[in-house]
Protein backbone atom coordinates (compact mmCIF):
# COMPACT_ATOMS: atom_id res chain seq x y z
CA UNK A 1 0.00 0.00 0.00
CA UNK A 2 1.23 3.49 -0.77
CA UNK A 3 1.42 6.39 1.57
CA UNK A 4 -1.76 7.95 0.31
CA UNK A 5 -5.10 6.38 1.11
CA UNK A 6 -7.26 5.79 -1.93
CA UNK A 7 -10.38 3.95 -2.94
CA UNK A 8 -10.27 0.99 -5.33
CA UNK A 9 -12.49 2.77 -7.82
CA UNK A 10 -10.19 5.78 -7.81
CA UNK A 11 -7.25 3.67 -8.87
CA UNK A 12 -9.35 1.92 -11.53
CA UNK A 13 -10.30 5.28 -12.98
CA UNK A 14 -6.72 6.55 -12.88
CA UNK A 15 -5.50 3.42 -14.65
CA UNK A 16 -8.23 3.77 -17.29
CA UNK A 17 -7.29 7.40 -17.90
CA UNK A 18 -3.77 6.30 -18.83
CA UNK A 19 -5.17 4.31 -21.76
CA UNK A 20 -6.44 7.51 -23.38
CA UNK A 21 -4.06 9.51 -25.56
CA UNK A 22 -4.13 13.19 -26.38
CA UNK A 23 -6.14 14.15 -29.46
CA UNK A 24 -8.25 11.00 -29.45
CA UNK A 25 -11.99 10.66 -29.83
CA UNK A 26 -13.46 8.84 -26.83
CA UNK A 27 -16.97 7.40 -26.68
CA UNK A 28 -18.09 7.64 -23.07
CA UNK A 29 -20.80 5.92 -21.12
CA UNK A 30 -22.08 6.77 -17.67
CA UNK A 31 -20.35 6.42 -14.31
CA UNK A 32 -16.64 5.79 -13.88
CA UNK A 33 -15.79 6.11 -17.61
CA UNK A 34 -16.76 9.76 -17.69
CA UNK A 35 -14.56 10.36 -14.63
CA UNK A 36 -11.67 8.59 -16.37
CA UNK A 37 -11.92 10.63 -19.56
CA UNK A 38 -12.30 13.89 -17.64
CA UNK A 39 -9.22 12.99 -15.61
CA UNK A 40 -7.30 12.28 -18.82
CA UNK A 41 -8.33 15.69 -20.15
CA UNK A 42 -7.14 17.37 -16.98
CA UNK A 43 -3.76 15.59 -17.03
CA UNK A 44 -1.99 14.30 -20.15
CA UNK A 45 -4.72 14.50 -22.79
CA UNK A 46 -6.26 17.98 -22.88
CA UNK A 47 -7.35 17.64 -26.52
CA UNK A 48 -9.50 14.58 -26.13
CA UNK A 49 -12.91 14.81 -27.80
CA UNK A 50 -15.73 13.20 -25.88
CA UNK A 51 -18.72 11.86 -27.80
CA UNK A 52 -21.94 10.61 -26.22
CA UNK A 53 -24.59 8.50 -27.91
CA UNK A 54 -27.50 10.90 -27.48
CA UNK A 55 -25.90 13.31 -29.96
CA UNK A 56 -23.27 15.26 -28.02
CA UNK A 57 -19.88 16.00 -29.63
CA UNK A 58 -16.99 17.57 -27.73
CA UNK A 59 -18.60 18.83 -24.51
CA UNK A 60 -16.39 20.74 -22.08
CA UNK A 61 -17.20 18.72 -18.98
CA UNK A 62 -16.76 20.31 -15.61
CA UNK A 63 -18.59 18.07 -13.18
CA UNK A 64 -19.08 14.42 -13.98
CA UNK A 65 -22.56 13.87 -15.45
CA UNK A 66 -24.67 11.16 -13.87
CA UNK A 67 -26.21 9.72 -16.99
CA UNK A 68 -25.55 9.84 -20.69
CA UNK A 69 -28.69 11.94 -20.89
CA UNK A 70 -27.84 14.22 -17.99
CA UNK A 71 -28.07 17.81 -19.13
CA UNK A 72 -24.57 18.40 -17.69
CA UNK A 73 -23.12 16.25 -20.47
CA UNK A 74 -24.19 18.85 -23.05
CA UNK A 75 -22.10 21.58 -21.40
CA UNK A 76 -20.51 23.82 -24.03
CA UNK A 77 -20.45 21.08 -26.65
CA UNK A 78 -19.15 21.64 -30.17
CA UNK A 79 -22.32 20.08 -31.50
CA UNK A 80 -25.66 19.03 -30.04
CA UNK A 81 -27.06 16.76 -32.70
CA UNK A 82 -28.68 13.39 -33.10
CA UNK A 83 -27.96 9.84 -32.06
CA UNK A 84 -27.43 8.94 -35.73
CA UNK A 85 -24.75 11.58 -36.09
CA UNK A 86 -22.77 10.01 -33.26
CA UNK A 87 -23.46 6.28 -33.67
CA UNK A 88 -23.37 6.21 -37.48
CA UNK A 89 -21.38 9.24 -38.70
CA UNK A 90 -18.66 9.05 -36.03
CA UNK A 91 -18.67 5.55 -34.50
CA UNK A 92 -19.67 3.27 -37.40
CA UNK A 93 -17.56 5.43 -39.73
CA UNK A 94 -14.54 4.31 -37.67
CA UNK A 95 -13.53 7.60 -36.04
CA UNK A 96 -13.72 6.50 -32.39
CA UNK A 97 -10.35 5.64 -30.82
CA UNK A 98 -11.53 4.49 -27.41
CA UNK A 99 -14.92 3.22 -26.31
CA UNK A 100 -16.06 2.36 -22.79
CA UNK A 101 -18.46 -0.52 -22.23
CA UNK A 102 -19.64 -2.76 -19.40
CA UNK A 103 -22.05 -5.50 -18.50
CA UNK A 104 -23.43 -7.85 -15.87
CA UNK A 105 -21.28 -10.71 -17.21
CA UNK A 106 -17.94 -10.80 -19.00
CA UNK A 107 -16.53 -14.02 -20.37
CA UNK A 108 -13.10 -15.36 -21.33
CA UNK A 109 -13.33 -13.78 -24.83
CA UNK A 110 -14.29 -10.43 -23.28
CA UNK A 111 -17.85 -10.69 -24.55
CA UNK A 112 -20.28 -8.71 -22.42
CA UNK A 113 -23.83 -9.41 -21.35
CA UNK A 114 -26.21 -6.62 -20.36
CA UNK A 115 -29.42 -8.31 -21.48
CA UNK A 116 -30.42 -11.41 -19.43
CA UNK A 117 -29.13 -13.80 -16.78
CA UNK A 118 -30.42 -17.27 -17.58
CA UNK A 119 -32.53 -18.30 -20.55
CA UNK A 120 -33.36 -15.45 -22.94
CA UNK A 121 -37.07 -16.19 -23.05
CA UNK A 122 -37.42 -17.19 -19.38
CA UNK A 123 -34.60 -15.32 -17.66
CA UNK A 124 -33.69 -15.22 -14.01
CA UNK A 125 -33.02 -11.50 -14.39
CA UNK A 126 -33.75 -9.19 -17.25
CA UNK A 127 -31.39 -6.22 -17.77
CA UNK A 128 -31.93 -3.10 -19.90
CA UNK A 129 -30.23 -4.46 -23.04
CA UNK A 130 -27.60 -3.07 -25.39
CA UNK A 131 -28.23 0.61 -25.81
CA UNK A 132 -25.09 1.97 -27.44
CA UNK A 133 -22.83 -0.75 -25.99
CA UNK A 134 -23.03 -3.16 -28.92
CA UNK A 135 -22.12 -0.55 -31.56
CA UNK A 136 -19.26 0.73 -29.38
CA UNK A 137 -17.94 -2.83 -28.97
CA UNK A 138 -18.35 -3.35 -32.72
CA UNK A 139 -16.64 -0.22 -34.01
CA UNK A 140 -14.23 1.44 -31.54
CA UNK A 141 -10.53 0.86 -32.17
CA UNK A 142 -9.84 0.18 -28.49
CA UNK A 143 -12.23 -0.91 -25.79
CA UNK A 144 -11.99 -0.15 -22.08
CA UNK A 145 -14.02 -2.04 -19.52
CA UNK A 146 -14.05 -0.86 -15.90
CA UNK A 147 -15.77 -3.41 -13.68
CA UNK A 148 -15.78 -4.91 -10.18
CA UNK A 149 -14.01 -8.28 -10.09
CA UNK A 150 -16.52 -10.89 -8.96
CA UNK A 151 -16.64 -14.62 -9.69
CA UNK A 152 -20.29 -14.45 -10.81
CA UNK A 153 -19.45 -11.64 -13.20
CA UNK A 154 -16.34 -13.20 -14.79
CA UNK A 155 -18.03 -16.24 -16.34
CA UNK A 156 -16.80 -18.86 -18.80
CA UNK A 157 -19.53 -18.06 -21.29
CA UNK A 158 -22.02 -15.20 -21.22
CA UNK A 159 -25.66 -16.24 -21.06
CA UNK A 160 -26.22 -13.71 -23.86
CA UNK A 161 -23.65 -11.80 -25.90
CA UNK A 162 -24.88 -8.20 -25.95
CA UNK A 163 -21.53 -6.59 -26.92
CA UNK A 164 -18.99 -8.71 -28.75
CA UNK A 165 -15.46 -9.14 -27.46
CA UNK A 166 -13.54 -11.76 -29.47
CA UNK A 167 -16.72 -13.89 -29.57
CA UNK A 168 -15.20 -17.41 -29.73
CA UNK A 169 -11.56 -17.04 -30.72
CA UNK A 170 -8.93 -14.88 -32.43
CA UNK A 171 -10.95 -14.71 -35.67
CA UNK A 172 -14.35 -14.67 -34.04
CA UNK A 173 -15.01 -11.04 -34.96
CA UNK A 174 -13.68 -11.45 -38.48
CA UNK A 175 -15.91 -14.46 -39.09
CA UNK A 176 -18.93 -12.57 -37.78
CA UNK A 177 -18.30 -9.77 -40.28
CA UNK A 178 -17.06 -7.07 -37.92
CA UNK A 179 -14.69 -4.71 -39.69
CA UNK A 180 -12.79 -3.73 -36.57
CA UNK A 181 -11.81 -7.35 -36.13
CA UNK A 182 -8.84 -7.12 -33.78
CA UNK A 183 -9.41 -4.23 -31.37
CA UNK A 184 -7.34 -3.86 -28.27
CA UNK A 185 -9.47 -4.65 -25.22
CA UNK A 186 -8.46 -3.69 -21.70
CA UNK A 187 -10.39 -4.79 -18.62
CA UNK A 188 -9.71 -2.87 -15.43
CA UNK A 189 -11.01 -4.34 -12.18
CA UNK A 190 -10.38 -3.77 -8.50
CA UNK A 191 -7.98 -6.76 -8.60
CA UNK A 192 -6.13 -6.44 -11.90
CA UNK A 193 -5.80 -5.26 -15.48
CA UNK A 194 -6.43 -7.77 -18.28
CA UNK A 195 -5.97 -7.62 -22.02
CA UNK A 196 -6.34 -9.94 -25.00
CA UNK A 197 -3.93 -12.73 -25.85
CA UNK A 198 -3.84 -12.37 -29.61
CA UNK A 199 -3.14 -16.07 -30.25
CA UNK A 200 -6.30 -17.27 -28.52
CA UNK A 201 -8.51 -14.18 -28.41
CA UNK A 202 -8.86 -14.84 -24.68
CA UNK A 203 -8.31 -12.56 -21.71
CA UNK A 204 -4.90 -12.64 -20.09
CA UNK A 205 -3.63 -11.05 -16.92
CA UNK A 206 -1.65 -7.90 -17.69
CA UNK A 207 -1.07 -6.16 -14.35
CA UNK A 208 -2.05 -6.64 -10.74
CA UNK A 209 -3.49 -3.94 -8.57
CA UNK A 210 -1.15 -3.06 -5.65
CA UNK A 211 -1.15 -5.71 -2.90
CA UNK A 212 -3.27 -8.14 -4.93
CA UNK A 213 -1.97 -11.66 -5.61
CA UNK A 214 -2.42 -13.77 -8.71
CA UNK A 215 -4.24 -16.29 -6.53
CA UNK A 216 -6.82 -13.72 -5.53
CA UNK A 217 -7.47 -12.93 -9.19
CA UNK A 218 -7.78 -16.61 -10.11
CA UNK A 219 -10.13 -17.28 -7.18
CA UNK A 220 -12.45 -14.53 -8.32
CA UNK A 221 -12.56 -15.57 -11.98
CA UNK A 222 -14.78 -18.43 -13.19
CA UNK A 223 -12.83 -19.04 -16.39
CA UNK A 224 -9.21 -20.04 -16.84
CA UNK A 225 -7.39 -16.72 -17.09
CA UNK A 226 -4.14 -16.77 -19.08
CA UNK A 227 -1.26 -15.88 -16.73
CA UNK A 228 1.93 -14.70 -18.45
CA UNK A 229 5.31 -15.50 -16.84
CA UNK A 230 5.82 -11.93 -15.68
CA UNK A 231 3.10 -9.64 -14.37
CA UNK A 232 3.65 -5.97 -13.50
CA UNK A 233 1.91 -4.01 -10.78
CA UNK A 234 -0.22 -0.94 -11.41
CA UNK A 235 1.34 2.33 -10.23
CA UNK A 236 -0.04 3.84 -7.06
CA UNK A 237 -2.11 6.96 -7.56
CA UNK A 238 -0.41 10.31 -7.17
CA UNK A 239 -1.72 13.04 -4.94
CA UNK A 240 -2.39 15.20 -8.01
CA UNK A 241 -4.54 12.53 -9.59
CA UNK A 242 -6.54 11.93 -6.43
CA UNK A 243 -7.00 15.64 -5.86
CA UNK A 244 -8.30 16.13 -9.38
CA UNK A 245 -10.86 13.41 -8.88
CA UNK A 246 -11.89 14.47 -5.40
CA UNK A 247 -11.84 18.22 -5.71
CA UNK A 248 -12.60 18.96 -9.36
CA UNK A 249 -14.28 16.06 -11.09
CA UNK A 250 -16.45 14.48 -8.41
CA UNK A 251 -16.47 16.79 -5.39
CA UNK A 252 -19.76 15.27 -4.23
CA UNK A 253 -18.24 11.78 -4.24
CA UNK A 254 -21.09 10.40 -6.28
CA UNK A 255 -19.12 7.72 -8.05
CA UNK A 256 -16.96 6.42 -5.26
CA UNK A 257 -17.96 4.17 -2.39
CA UNK A 258 -16.60 4.83 1.08
CA UNK A 259 -14.52 1.70 1.18
CA UNK A 260 -10.85 2.51 1.20
CA UNK A 261 -8.18 0.22 -0.14
Amino acid sequence: MGDIAYKKEELMVIEASKHINDGEIVFTGIGLPVVAVTLAQKTHAPNVTVVVESGVVGPQLKLAPLSIADSKIMRRAARLGSLREVLACILQRGMVDVGFIGGAQIDQYANLNSTVIGDYYKPKVRFPGSGGANPIASHAKRLLIITPHQKRRFVKKCDYITSPGYIDGPYGRKNAGLRMWNPSITVITDLCVMDIDSASGKLQLAKLMPDVTIEQVVENTSFELIIPPKVDVVDLPTETELNLIRKEIDPEGIYFSNKQN
Binding site: S67, L87, I161
Partner: protein, 313 residues
Amino acid sequence: MNSKIMTASEAVERFIFDGASVGFSGQNVVGAPMAITHEIIRQKKKNLTLLGCNLSLPADILIGAGLVRKCEWGTCNIGYRGIPSMGYSARKYYQEGKLEIEDYEHLGMVSRFLAGEMGLPFMPVMSSLGSDILKYKAPSTEKKFEIIENPWNPGEKVLLMPAATPDVAIVHVQRADEMGDAIMEGFTATIPELVRASKKVIVSCEEIISSEETRNYPEMTTIPYIYVDAVVEQPWGSHPTATYRYYDCDVEHLRMYQECAEAALKEGKSGMQKYQDYLQEYVLSCDTFNDYLEKIGGVKKLMELKQRMREVI
Protein backbone atom coordinates in the same frame (compact mmCIF):
# COMPACT_ATOMS: atom_id res chain seq x y z
CA MET B 1 -53.42 26.63 -42.48
CA ASN B 2 -55.61 25.08 -39.81
CA SER B 3 -54.30 25.02 -36.30
CA LYS B 4 -53.28 21.61 -34.94
CA ILE B 5 -53.43 22.70 -31.32
CA MET B 6 -55.46 20.34 -29.13
CA THR B 7 -55.49 18.93 -25.61
CA ALA B 8 -53.55 15.81 -24.66
CA SER B 9 -56.87 14.06 -24.26
CA GLU B 10 -58.01 14.97 -27.78
CA ALA B 11 -54.66 14.01 -29.30
CA VAL B 12 -54.66 10.55 -27.70
CA GLU B 13 -58.30 9.98 -28.57
CA ARG B 14 -57.74 10.88 -32.21
CA PHE B 15 -54.39 9.28 -32.96
CA ILE B 16 -53.68 6.41 -30.55
CA PHE B 17 -55.70 3.24 -31.00
CA ASP B 18 -55.69 -0.22 -29.41
CA GLY B 19 -52.95 -2.27 -31.03
CA ALA B 20 -51.06 0.76 -32.36
CA SER B 21 -47.28 0.80 -32.72
CA VAL B 22 -45.99 3.89 -30.95
CA GLY B 23 -42.55 5.51 -30.94
CA PHE B 24 -41.38 7.71 -28.07
CA SER B 25 -38.89 10.50 -27.54
CA GLY B 26 -36.75 10.50 -24.42
CA GLN B 27 -33.31 9.32 -23.40
CA ASN B 28 -33.05 8.06 -19.79
CA VAL B 29 -34.06 11.03 -17.68
CA VAL B 30 -34.44 13.65 -20.45
CA GLY B 31 -37.26 14.52 -22.82
CA ALA B 32 -39.87 11.80 -22.29
CA PRO B 33 -43.40 12.83 -23.38
CA MET B 34 -45.00 12.11 -20.00
CA ALA B 35 -48.15 14.23 -20.36
CA ILE B 36 -49.23 12.23 -23.42
CA THR B 37 -48.11 8.97 -21.79
CA HIS B 38 -50.34 9.62 -18.76
CA GLU B 39 -53.26 10.34 -21.05
CA ILE B 40 -52.77 7.00 -22.84
CA ILE B 41 -53.02 5.29 -19.45
CA ARG B 42 -56.16 7.21 -18.55
CA GLN B 43 -57.74 6.30 -21.88
CA LYS B 44 -56.55 2.67 -21.47
CA LYS B 45 -55.27 2.28 -25.05
CA LYS B 46 -54.07 -1.32 -25.02
CA ASN B 47 -52.09 -4.00 -26.84
CA LEU B 48 -49.56 -1.36 -27.79
CA THR B 49 -46.24 -2.04 -29.47
CA LEU B 50 -43.61 0.46 -28.32
CA LEU B 51 -40.61 1.41 -30.44
CA GLY B 52 -37.54 3.44 -29.62
CA CYS B 53 -33.84 3.48 -28.89
CA ASN B 54 -34.09 4.20 -25.16
CA LEU B 55 -37.70 3.81 -24.21
CA SER B 56 -37.10 4.58 -20.48
CA LEU B 57 -39.94 5.83 -18.29
CA PRO B 58 -42.82 6.06 -20.82
CA ALA B 59 -42.37 2.38 -21.70
CA ASP B 60 -42.00 1.30 -18.10
CA ILE B 61 -45.15 3.00 -16.86
CA LEU B 62 -47.23 1.85 -19.86
CA ILE B 63 -45.99 -1.71 -19.27
CA GLY B 64 -46.78 -1.37 -15.56
CA ALA B 65 -50.29 -0.21 -16.47
CA GLY B 66 -50.72 -3.44 -18.46
CA LEU B 67 -51.15 -1.75 -21.83
CA VAL B 68 -48.14 -3.07 -23.74
CA ARG B 69 -47.89 -6.22 -25.80
CA LYS B 70 -44.43 -5.79 -27.28
CA CYS B 71 -41.36 -3.54 -27.23
CA GLU B 72 -38.80 -3.08 -29.97
CA TRP B 73 -35.98 -1.23 -28.26
CA GLY B 74 -32.29 -0.66 -27.87
CA THR B 75 -32.74 -0.39 -24.12
CA CYS B 76 -35.17 0.58 -21.36
CA ASN B 77 -32.87 2.54 -19.10
CA ILE B 78 -34.00 4.95 -16.37
CA GLY B 79 -30.68 4.91 -14.50
CA TYR B 80 -29.58 8.00 -12.63
CA ARG B 81 -27.96 8.85 -9.31
CA GLY B 82 -28.84 5.84 -7.20
CA ILE B 83 -31.79 4.83 -9.36
CA PRO B 84 -31.43 1.36 -10.91
CA SER B 85 -31.19 1.52 -14.67
CA MET B 86 -33.65 -1.20 -15.68
CA GLY B 87 -37.28 -0.21 -15.64
CA TYR B 88 -38.73 -2.55 -13.02
CA SER B 89 -42.14 -2.90 -14.64
CA ALA B 90 -40.45 -3.98 -17.86
CA ARG B 91 -38.34 -6.45 -15.90
CA LYS B 92 -41.37 -7.83 -14.05
CA TYR B 93 -43.58 -8.26 -17.10
CA TYR B 94 -40.80 -9.81 -19.20
CA GLN B 95 -39.69 -12.20 -16.48
CA GLU B 96 -43.29 -13.25 -15.92
CA GLY B 97 -43.75 -13.93 -19.63
CA LYS B 98 -46.31 -11.16 -20.09
CA LEU B 99 -44.26 -8.97 -22.40
CA GLU B 100 -42.58 -9.62 -25.71
CA ILE B 101 -39.29 -7.85 -26.32
CA GLU B 102 -37.43 -7.56 -29.58
CA ASP B 103 -33.93 -6.57 -28.56
CA TYR B 104 -31.99 -4.32 -30.89
CA GLU B 105 -29.08 -1.99 -30.25
CA HIS B 106 -29.21 1.77 -30.68
CA LEU B 107 -27.43 1.95 -34.05
CA GLY B 108 -29.57 -0.83 -35.48
CA MET B 109 -32.73 0.74 -34.12
CA VAL B 110 -32.02 4.27 -35.41
CA SER B 111 -31.03 2.72 -38.75
CA ARG B 112 -34.50 1.15 -38.88
CA PHE B 113 -36.09 4.59 -38.40
CA LEU B 114 -33.66 6.03 -40.97
CA ALA B 115 -34.88 3.50 -43.54
CA GLY B 116 -38.44 4.32 -42.58
CA GLU B 117 -38.06 8.08 -42.94
CA MET B 118 -36.45 7.70 -46.39
CA GLY B 119 -39.09 5.33 -47.77
CA LEU B 120 -36.56 2.50 -47.97
CA PRO B 121 -37.36 -1.12 -47.14
CA PHE B 122 -34.16 -1.64 -45.13
CA MET B 123 -30.90 -0.07 -44.01
CA PRO B 124 -27.42 -1.61 -43.99
CA VAL B 125 -25.87 -1.79 -40.51
CA MET B 126 -22.37 -2.89 -39.53
CA SER B 127 -23.00 -3.56 -35.83
CA SER B 128 -25.10 -6.31 -34.12
CA LEU B 129 -22.95 -8.80 -36.07
CA GLY B 130 -21.59 -11.61 -33.90
CA SER B 131 -23.89 -10.78 -31.00
CA ASP B 132 -26.94 -12.62 -29.71
CA ILE B 133 -29.11 -9.72 -30.87
CA LEU B 134 -29.16 -11.57 -34.18
CA LYS B 135 -29.44 -15.01 -32.56
CA TYR B 136 -32.66 -14.45 -30.68
CA LYS B 137 -35.62 -13.49 -32.75
CA ALA B 138 -38.77 -12.35 -31.07
CA PRO B 139 -41.49 -15.00 -31.43
CA SER B 140 -43.60 -12.76 -33.63
CA THR B 141 -40.95 -11.75 -36.12
CA GLU B 142 -40.68 -13.53 -39.40
CA LYS B 143 -37.40 -12.02 -40.46
CA LYS B 144 -35.55 -9.81 -38.01
CA PHE B 145 -32.62 -9.21 -40.37
CA GLU B 146 -30.84 -10.39 -43.50
CA ILE B 147 -27.11 -10.72 -44.14
CA ILE B 148 -25.87 -10.20 -47.69
CA GLU B 149 -22.46 -10.04 -49.30
CA ASN B 150 -21.13 -6.57 -50.12
CA PRO B 151 -21.34 -6.35 -53.92
CA TRP B 152 -18.34 -3.99 -53.90
CA ASN B 153 -16.19 -6.18 -51.65
CA PRO B 154 -17.00 -9.86 -52.12
CA GLY B 155 -16.61 -11.82 -48.91
CA GLU B 156 -17.60 -8.90 -46.68
CA LYS B 157 -20.85 -9.40 -44.80
CA VAL B 158 -23.40 -6.60 -44.56
CA LEU B 159 -26.34 -6.74 -42.21
CA LEU B 160 -29.68 -5.36 -43.43
CA MET B 161 -32.29 -4.28 -40.88
CA PRO B 162 -35.93 -3.72 -41.89
CA ALA B 163 -37.46 -0.23 -41.82
CA ALA B 164 -39.51 0.76 -38.78
CA THR B 165 -42.55 2.93 -39.47
CA PRO B 166 -44.59 3.37 -36.26
CA ASP B 167 -48.28 4.20 -36.47
CA VAL B 168 -47.69 7.17 -34.17
CA ALA B 169 -44.69 9.04 -32.79
CA ILE B 170 -45.04 10.96 -29.54
CA VAL B 171 -42.35 13.51 -28.78
CA HIS B 172 -41.83 16.31 -26.29
CA VAL B 173 -39.98 19.42 -27.42
CA GLN B 174 -39.30 22.92 -26.17
CA ARG B 175 -41.36 24.98 -28.61
CA ALA B 176 -43.76 24.54 -31.49
CA ASP B 177 -46.08 26.73 -33.52
CA GLU B 178 -49.75 26.01 -34.14
CA MET B 179 -49.07 24.35 -37.48
CA GLY B 180 -46.62 21.94 -35.87
CA ASP B 181 -43.22 23.37 -36.73
CA ALA B 182 -41.21 22.17 -33.74
CA ILE B 183 -37.94 23.40 -32.27
CA MET B 184 -35.81 21.07 -30.16
CA GLU B 185 -32.94 22.22 -27.98
CA GLY B 186 -30.12 20.03 -26.75
CA PHE B 187 -29.40 16.70 -28.36
CA THR B 188 -32.18 15.43 -30.60
CA ALA B 189 -31.40 11.72 -30.04
CA THR B 190 -33.69 9.77 -32.41
CA ILE B 191 -36.43 12.37 -32.74
CA PRO B 192 -35.73 13.51 -36.33
CA GLU B 193 -35.71 9.98 -37.76
CA LEU B 194 -38.52 8.68 -35.53
CA VAL B 195 -40.86 11.53 -36.39
CA ARG B 196 -40.26 11.40 -40.12
CA ALA B 197 -40.66 7.60 -40.15
CA SER B 198 -44.04 7.63 -38.36
CA LYS B 199 -47.48 7.76 -39.94
CA LYS B 200 -48.91 10.20 -37.38
CA VAL B 201 -47.07 12.53 -35.00
CA ILE B 202 -48.12 14.08 -31.69
CA VAL B 203 -45.84 16.91 -30.55
CA SER B 204 -46.15 18.05 -26.97
CA CYS B 205 -44.26 21.20 -26.12
CA GLU B 206 -43.34 23.50 -23.28
CA GLU B 207 -44.51 26.58 -25.16
CA ILE B 208 -46.49 27.38 -28.26
CA ILE B 209 -44.94 30.22 -30.22
CA SER B 210 -46.16 32.00 -33.33
CA SER B 211 -45.35 30.96 -36.89
CA GLU B 212 -43.95 34.45 -37.31
CA GLU B 213 -41.26 33.44 -34.85
CA THR B 214 -40.46 29.95 -36.21
CA ARG B 215 -40.18 31.31 -39.74
CA ASN B 216 -37.68 33.96 -38.80
CA TYR B 217 -34.93 31.38 -38.59
CA PRO B 218 -36.16 28.14 -40.20
CA GLU B 219 -32.73 26.50 -39.83
CA MET B 220 -33.64 25.95 -36.17
CA THR B 221 -36.89 24.12 -36.85
CA THR B 222 -36.19 20.47 -36.09
CA ILE B 223 -39.50 19.14 -37.44
CA PRO B 224 -41.45 20.97 -40.15
CA TYR B 225 -45.24 20.94 -39.91
CA ILE B 226 -45.79 18.52 -42.77
CA TYR B 227 -45.03 15.61 -40.42
CA VAL B 228 -47.14 16.80 -37.48
CA ASP B 229 -50.78 16.00 -36.70
CA ALA B 230 -51.29 17.33 -33.17
CA VAL B 231 -49.66 20.06 -31.08
CA VAL B 232 -50.23 19.86 -27.32
CA GLU B 233 -49.00 22.64 -25.07
CA GLN B 234 -48.01 21.26 -21.67
CA PRO B 235 -45.43 23.11 -19.58
CA TRP B 236 -43.39 20.66 -17.47
CA GLY B 237 -44.82 18.05 -19.86
CA SER B 238 -41.82 15.72 -19.53
CA HIS B 239 -41.77 15.63 -15.70
CA PRO B 240 -40.22 13.68 -13.91
CA THR B 241 -37.69 13.66 -16.77
CA ALA B 242 -35.94 16.89 -17.77
CA THR B 243 -36.49 19.31 -20.61
CA TYR B 244 -33.15 20.81 -21.63
CA ARG B 245 -32.74 24.51 -20.76
CA TYR B 246 -36.21 24.45 -19.06
CA TYR B 247 -36.03 22.21 -15.97
CA ASP B 248 -34.00 19.35 -14.54
CA CYS B 249 -35.29 15.85 -13.88
CA ASP B 250 -37.02 15.20 -10.54
CA VAL B 251 -34.72 12.63 -8.96
CA GLU B 252 -36.92 12.19 -5.90
CA HIS B 253 -39.99 11.40 -7.93
CA LEU B 254 -38.10 9.08 -10.28
CA ARG B 255 -36.73 7.19 -7.28
CA MET B 256 -40.19 6.93 -5.79
CA TYR B 257 -41.55 5.58 -9.07
CA GLN B 258 -38.82 2.95 -9.32
CA GLU B 259 -39.41 1.95 -5.68
CA CYS B 260 -43.06 1.30 -6.44
CA ALA B 261 -42.17 -0.66 -9.58
CA GLU B 262 -39.53 -2.60 -7.65
CA ALA B 263 -42.10 -3.42 -4.98
CA ALA B 264 -44.46 -4.78 -7.63
CA LEU B 265 -41.67 -7.02 -8.88
CA LYS B 266 -40.40 -8.24 -5.53
CA GLU B 267 -43.08 -7.92 -2.86
CA GLY B 268 -45.95 -9.89 -4.32
CA LYS B 269 -49.49 -8.71 -3.83
CA SER B 270 -48.73 -5.84 -1.45
CA GLY B 271 -46.00 -4.60 -3.78
CA MET B 272 -48.36 -4.73 -6.71
CA GLN B 273 -50.86 -2.72 -4.72
CA LYS B 274 -48.16 -0.15 -4.04
CA TYR B 275 -47.60 0.25 -7.79
CA GLN B 276 -51.35 0.43 -8.42
CA ASP B 277 -51.59 3.12 -5.74
CA TYR B 278 -48.91 5.10 -7.59
CA LEU B 279 -50.86 4.86 -10.83
CA GLN B 280 -54.11 5.76 -9.06
CA GLU B 281 -52.65 8.73 -7.22
CA TYR B 282 -50.48 10.25 -9.97
CA VAL B 283 -52.22 9.24 -13.20
CA LEU B 284 -55.71 7.77 -13.00
CA SER B 285 -57.15 10.15 -10.42
CA CYS B 286 -55.81 13.19 -12.30
CA ASP B 287 -58.04 14.83 -14.86
CA THR B 288 -55.12 16.48 -16.58
CA PHE B 289 -51.35 16.66 -16.32
CA ASN B 290 -51.73 19.91 -14.38
CA ASP B 291 -53.42 17.97 -11.56
CA TYR B 292 -50.39 15.66 -11.54
CA LEU B 293 -48.05 18.63 -11.37
CA GLU B 294 -49.91 19.87 -8.29
CA LYS B 295 -49.51 16.47 -6.64
CA ILE B 296 -45.78 16.09 -7.27
CA GLY B 297 -45.13 19.33 -5.40
CA GLY B 298 -46.82 22.11 -7.30
CA VAL B 299 -45.32 25.48 -8.14
CA LYS B 300 -42.63 25.31 -5.47
CA LYS B 301 -41.24 22.01 -6.75
CA LEU B 302 -41.43 23.12 -10.37
CA MET B 303 -39.50 26.31 -9.65
CA GLU B 304 -36.88 24.25 -7.83
CA LEU B 305 -36.42 22.02 -10.92
CA LYS B 306 -36.16 25.12 -13.11
CA GLN B 307 -33.48 26.47 -10.83
CA ARG B 308 -31.57 23.15 -10.84
CA MET B 309 -31.41 23.22 -14.65
CA ARG B 310 -29.94 26.72 -14.49
CA GLU B 311 -27.20 25.45 -12.22
CA VAL B 312 -26.45 22.48 -14.45
CA ILE B 313 -25.99 24.28 -17.78
